[in-house]
Amino acid sequence: MIHFVILISRQGKVRLTKWYSPYQQKERSTVIRELSGLIPTRGPKLCNFVEWKGYKVVYRRYASLYFCICIDPDDNELEILEIIHHFVEILDRYFGSVCELDLIFNFHKAYYILDEILIAGELQESSKKTVARLIAAQDSPVETAKEEASSISNMMSQAM
């Protein structure tokens, strides 16, 4: 199973963390600190797997971001690489050629998408189209609510 998903930038800034196994706050910061020291320092031609504390961390770099997934030692590393790519492709379609800034300013949307791909540390959906459809269906009531709110505040500001 997947224990956690972390997105780290090359500068070591955390862009997304998702924990499927219980880690206390302190442990979380230790994990992040250790991995951001370990993974960005690996050369480009090396394999995408790092053995770490009895687990394996599978990572893949996209531009300035490292997508890291921690799994059990007997899980399929190659499949995890595909899952990372699956996630990135969905992000890419959603944001339209995604970049790090998209993930910074819309970090909550990245989480929503991840929640449509993984639950309980297991893969939920292999179809990018289905994920996109579900996300769009859930975004629309939020957008409507936002528009309503802004029209009310516009009305209020006009009234004032």
Binding site: W19, K45, E51, E82, I119, Q124, L134, V142, A145
Partner: protein
């Protein structure tokens, strides 16, 4: 309430934080935001609750504390609208973890949302439950989730299936409730539901054998059909990855098939065809295809597959291994480790390639390959593999040397068939990576050398050569120092030269140079330096010409700022200056270390045994050693440690052994000073050891037999029958004036010792008023045809007896029994009447200036002494 009063928008806050140039600035911005959010919370601001939680999530990600926002998440979840719930659940998953008690408060909201009519709200609740639920929540909400597994909507179904996985991982007892809904999920067509359902079945198999049996019986066929359909399906753009339809589904089916086929030949047989098809037809030029092949190989290895299928699988791994992509090579190595158990011959075929991977530039691959090589070593290939690995050790990365060295050492220890090979290989490792060698490894080497008398000369010479090139390797230096201390004369005298050796000329002062370099070298640590001091002391008696120089070196260190060295130097100095007569016996060669005992202790791998061996090496010359219990023993005590090699440190009461040795040394010393009686120049340590082994509780672990046979001494004398003694007595008495003069002995005389060359008679006298004290008249007779000079008799007794030796009548013993030496020995038995007398004796003498030594134990004393 004024909507404009509630601080900045999320976007603006992120911008402000990103604009900060220093960490302090960032902290200030975050503090300000947190203060605004706290006040909004205390004012029960509802309009901007979702924005505040979004901000807190960002702040949380930066690593700041955000616990004060947890209750706000619960409020958002409890509100009616989807947008609020969405951000509320996200906050819940991000800001809380399953161990926080706050989480219990959300159970009720979750229950309501699981029963909501809006499928997306149900989805949110399932997702949150699946990601963070605790065991209590799992039990409370399992029924709701189980019901949702049967709904029509695929989105809810797949989420409920994954949520069930979390529930049965938390509460395995609930597994049976989920079994039949899980099995029915396998009949679905929707890929998301299938993937989640198959995963749920796999987890059910993990927690319950019954589930495994049930699924094997009812679902194997269905699974195979799913795999067939998906692998034969035509191009499906929705699921296509690199020309393969839904590799994720492939992999999950294969994984469940592995669970079902394990240990069941019929089911495995049934899977044969489809596995063969996947293994032979899947494209291997893209990662997705390789991921499927990898999973397929693992399944073939895991089930009771036919041999043909296994060959196919191993061949795939062989192909992987020669792939240029590091990822593929990595998983190949990983899988070959598992394949060894199934077919080690097939894996051996790839040995050369695997060995190349040990030298890869990628640390992950190196580590895998090294572990694999370690598993591949057997008696036939140990030598070439060791050679390869040692050759690589020279050029390997610094951070890999530790792992590599440990593995090489354990291969050498495990597969060595001859001592010389073992010593040679260890020497190579020590010279290349001595700093990485663990203590127990070089300790074992020393034990081995000490047990190989015919290789000691060779070892010390090889070590000397190695030292000249690799003096910076700590462990090597220590072994060199120890061996020079022990076998220095073999180095100088070229003792026991093997045919393969190149001639080597080393002078006595060369060896002292080495030790001095080790002692004064700036990189040497205390252990090495202390060992060097001991070795020097040892050499000073072996190489008399260098003793002046050694004395100077030791004197120099009397002022060392390192306490340990200073103490040693002072002790050694006083040995040299004041106790020169016993020095050579103190610094005699170590008795052979007990190899089997060491191996047993090493296997037990307690820290203690390392210390024990170490201290026994260091305590040779009777120095002070810090023992595990933190007690620095006085100089005499470490002799006890020699015995500790096979006993437990903790059992030795320090004070007792101290007194004990004190007594013993006292005897020797009073003798030498008061009567000018000179102790023989050898055997000091040994006799002390022997003393210790006479029936006292301290060294109960070490039997006298072991000690004496190890040291190559004659076995102890057997008690001679009394009748013979009487006859002997009659024979001898006339020639022994002093004994004959005494007449009327209360106790019969005995033959205390007899060998082919020497005979000792004891006769006894007691003062009636002092029953504890016995005066023993010892008579020594030479049975050989050569006369003895420098004859010295030594005796030792158990602790409850006190011993006093009077000066002997002479130290010259004529040949063929033409004369005797007599000596009076007074013993005081403090446990008179309870314990009989016992004594160990040793005779040292010279025949034509050749030193001889005999020893024995007397336990045929007449009763009542």
């Amino acid at each position: 309430m004024n909507p404009f009063s509630s601080g900045t928008r999320l976007r603006d806050m992120i911008r402000a934080i990103r604009a900060c140039k220093t960490a302090a600035e960032e902290r200030a911005v975050v503090r300000k935001e947190c203060a605004a959010i706290r006040s909004a919370i205390s004012e029960h601001d509802q309009d901007y609750r979702h924005r505040n939680i979004a901000k807190l999530m960002f702040i949380h990600m930066l690593g700041y504390p955000t616990h004060f926002g947890q209750m706000e998440c619960l409020k958002l979840i409890a509100s009616a609208g989807f947008p609020e719930k969405r951000i509320g659940y996200l906050g819940l998953m991000l800001l809380l973890d399953e161990r926080q008690e706050v989480l219990m408060l959300v159970t009720n909201s979750l229950k309501q949302d699981l029963n909501h009519t809006n499928q997306y709200i149900v989805g949110l609740a399932l997702c949150a439950l699946g990601n963070i639920c605790s065991a209590e929540m799992a039990s409370d909400l399992a029924a709701e989730v189980e019901r949702l597994l049967l709904t029509k909507d695929p989105n809810i179904k797949k989420k409920a299936a994954l949520c069930s996985i979390r529930i049965i991982r938390k509460v395995p007892d609930l597994a049976e409730n989920f079994l039949s809904p899980a099995a029915s999920l396998l009949k679905e067509k929707h890929h998301g539901v299938l993937i989640a359902g198959i995963q749920l079945c796999t987890d059910l198999c993990k927690v319950s054998a019954d589930a495994n049996k049930h699924l094997r019986k009812n679902c194997t066929e269905g699974l195979i059909r799913i795999l067939k359909d998906v692998s034969n399906s035509s191009y499906a753009p929705e699921y296509d990855i690199a020309g393969i339809t839904d590799p994720f589904l492939h992999i999950r089916v294969l994984r469940l098939m592995r669970m079902l086929g394990q240990g069941d030949a019929d089911t495995s047989e049934y899977m044969n065809d489809i596995l063969a098809q996947i293994a032979s037809k899947t494209e291997s030029n893209k990662n997705a295809g390789n991921a499927i092949l990898y999973e397929c190989v693992e399944t073939i290895m895991g089930i009771e597959a036919t041999s043909g299928l296994r060959v196919l699988a191993i061949n795939i791994l062989g192909r992987f291994l020669s792939n240029r992509d590091n990822n593929i090579r990595y998983v190949a190595l990983n899988m070959l480790m598992k394949a060894i158990a199934v077919d080690s011959q097939a894996v051996q075929r790839h040995r050369t390639t695997i060995l190349e991977c040990v030298k890869d530039s990628d640390a992950s691959i190196r580590k895998r390959a090294l572990e694999l090589v370690f598993l591949l070593v057997n008696d036939t290939n140990a030598k070439p593999l060791t050679k390869e690995l040692i050759d690589y050790l020279e050029v390997s990365d610094q951070d890999f040397k530790g792992d590599l060295t440990a593995k090489i050492c354990s291969i050498i220890e495990k597969f060595s068939q001859e001592k010389k090979w073992y010593i040679d290989q260890m020497l190579k490792v020590l010279s290349l990576a001595g700093s990485y060698v663990k203590d127990d490894v070089w300790h074992a080497l020393i034990v081995a050398i000490s047990n190989a008398p015919d290789l000691q000369g060779y070892s010390v010479r090889s070590l000397y050569k190695a030292f000249r090139t690799s003096f910076e390797q700590v462990s090597l230096v220590r072994v060199v120092v120890w061996c020079i201390g022990e076998y220095g004369e073999m180095l100088v005298g070229n003792v026991g030269v093997l045919e393969v050796e190149e001639p080597l000329t080393v002078t006595e002062s060369d060896t002292v140079d080495v030790l001095e370099a080790c002692l004064t070298g700036h990189s040497a640590d205390i252990t090495t330096r202390s060992m060097s001091l001991i070795a020097l002391l040892k050499l000073s008696s072996r190489f008399p010409p260098t003793s002046e120089r050694i004395k100077e070196i030791i004197t120099e260190h009397k002022g060392s700022i390192v306490l340990e060295l200073q103490q040693r130097a002072i002790e050694f100095n006083s040995i040299i200056q004041r106790h020169d007569n016993i020095k050579s016996s103190l610094v005699e060669r170590m008795p052979v270390l007990d190899e089997s005992a060491y191996m047993v202790k090493k296997a037990n791998s307690s820290q203690e045994n390392i210390v024990a061996v170490k201290s026994s090496q260091m305590s040779l010359a009777g120095t002070s050693v810090t023992l595990p219990n933190g007690v620095a023993k006085p100089p005499a005590a470490p002799l006890v440690d020699l015995l500790d090699l096979s006993s437990d440190d903790a059992l030795v009461p320090t004070s007792t052994s101290k007194d004990f040795l004190h007594d013993l040394l006292g005897i020797d010393l009073t003798n030498s000073s008061s009567s000018g009686f000179s102790i023989a120049p050898s055997g000091g340590t040994d006799i002390l050891m022997d003393l210790l082994s006479i029936g006292t509780p301290v060294q109960s672990d070490i039997s006298p037999e072991t000690v004496s046979s190890n040291q190559g001494f004659a076995p102890t004398t057997k008690p001679t029958p009394t009748t013979v003694q009487v006859l002997d007595l009659l024979d001898v008495l006339p020639s022994n004036g002093s004994v004959a003069g005494d007449q009327s002995p209360l106790y019969p005389s005995i033959t205390a010792f007899q060998s082919s060359t020497l005979k000792i008679m004891f006769s006894f006298k007691k003062h009636p008023e002092k029953p504890q004290v016995t005066e023993i008249h010892a008579t020594f007779m030479n049975l050989s045809s050569d006369s003895y000079t420098d004859f010295v008799f030594q005796a030792a007794v158990p602790k409850f007896i006190q011993l006093h030796l009077d000066p002997a009548s002479s130290n010259h013993l004529p040949a063929n029994g033409n004369g005797t030496i007599t000596q009076t020995v007074t013993v005081t038995n403090s446990q008179h009447g309870q314990k009989p007398l016992a004594m160990r004796i040793r005779m040292v003498y010279k025949v034509d200036n050749q030193e001889k030594l005999e020893q024995g134990q007397i336990n045929n004393f007449p009763p009542g002494l």
